[in-house]
Symmetry: C3
Subunit: 155 residues, 3 copies
Amino acid sequence: MKKTIIVFSGDLDKAMAAFIIANGAAAMGDDVTMFFTFWGLNILRKPEKVPAKKSFLQAMFGSMMPRGATRLGLSKMNFGGMGAGMMKKVMKSRNVSSLPELMAIAREQGVKMVACTMSMDVMGFSEAELIDGLEFAGVATYLGEADEANVNLFI
Amino acid sequence: MKKTIIVFSGDLDKAMAAFIIANGAAAMGDDVTMFFTFWGLNILRKPEKVPAKKSFLQAMFGSMMPRGATRLGLSKMNFGGMGAGMMKKVMKSRNVSSLPELMAIAREQGVKMVACTMSMDVMGFSEAELIDGLEFAGVATYLGEADEANVNLFI
Amino acid sequence: MKKTIIVFSGDLDKAMAAFIIANGAAAMGDDVTMFFTFWGLNILRKPEKVPAKKSFLQAMFGSMMPRGATRLGLSKMNFGGMGAGMMKKVMKSRNVSSLPELMAIAREQGVKMVACTMSMDVMGFSEAELIDGLEFAGVATYLGEADEANVNLFI
């Protein structure tokens, strides 16, 4: 059965939870669609700066938000990134896949990753600023997929 | 098919996500019920102060929490409201409907908005302090609606 | 019909929402499974310190995170615990069950409480550090339960 996950959060811990669920479902043979919106788009940003036409405010938001999966903070106890760093260390020591690894697994398993075009327009993110292999769509597409799914989460 | 959304959060960004999903579903012909609880009740507060009998703590919570949809903050990067202000500006420049506009559309489209009576009792919110056109109910009503729905989100 | 709730958050307000929904559903005759992961594990910690073998980072995380349901903070307006204390007072004055009471009711009603073993391994929590009456499982178990459920929430 299909599963959908709206990834609204751009926090490392929540992003990892989303991908662990997505990958688990895909491994069990489910179709999985992840719909990245708002802060969740930060997970999909390329690590390098990509030239793009932005308004002043978009450029400011863009420069203040983390650029990609390796730079996300924790939703709690982040302490300016120190908490996220410690969490990554603990996870590595327990052989938990990192977020970039989880994302690579998702891709290999055919998890569909959709970037919300309305959020991209607001944040001023072009397709070129986001990682490859994404689809681009809006809320109607999400709802169409959710209608076919038996588990729909908002993270 | 019916959709339900529990709106637990009172953050501007999450409230907007909830209404964008609700309005999208309603536009596609779905019955939609939004169930506002805890901080989510702040979205429904009237902007003006309404005289009400409250305990000292309820009055204090009431005065510290935002009064209505125009005064909400962002869940991240709010910076004492500056982030929310900038986000509203960016959204307006991209022709995204504001939260009050999204709420008006929801109403026109017949989205059912339910305020959680248990949370109202805890927070000390009377019906008169909340906007018009709401229904008032508890968790049993939510569960009854969720049982009939095929998408149930907690935001 | 079955309901599942992923309890990712360790905040008092969100934990209460999760148990109020779970208990409501159980009272209506539903099978309910709560799956505690990441910060949500803090809800399940015993209040006393339990000797356990941990890495330095795990010990540090463990000592900085709240030990059990009576020590959780609010997701907003916590003010170093003062907000949570005030919220508990208000709730008590309105005859709302406390979180420990809600958890006892859940147990009596047969709500299944599952601790995520992967998160336990990362955080360094042994079974002995968590309250009694839990089951221990991973994401595959969650997905199996969610497939049988008609309401699946992520809190």
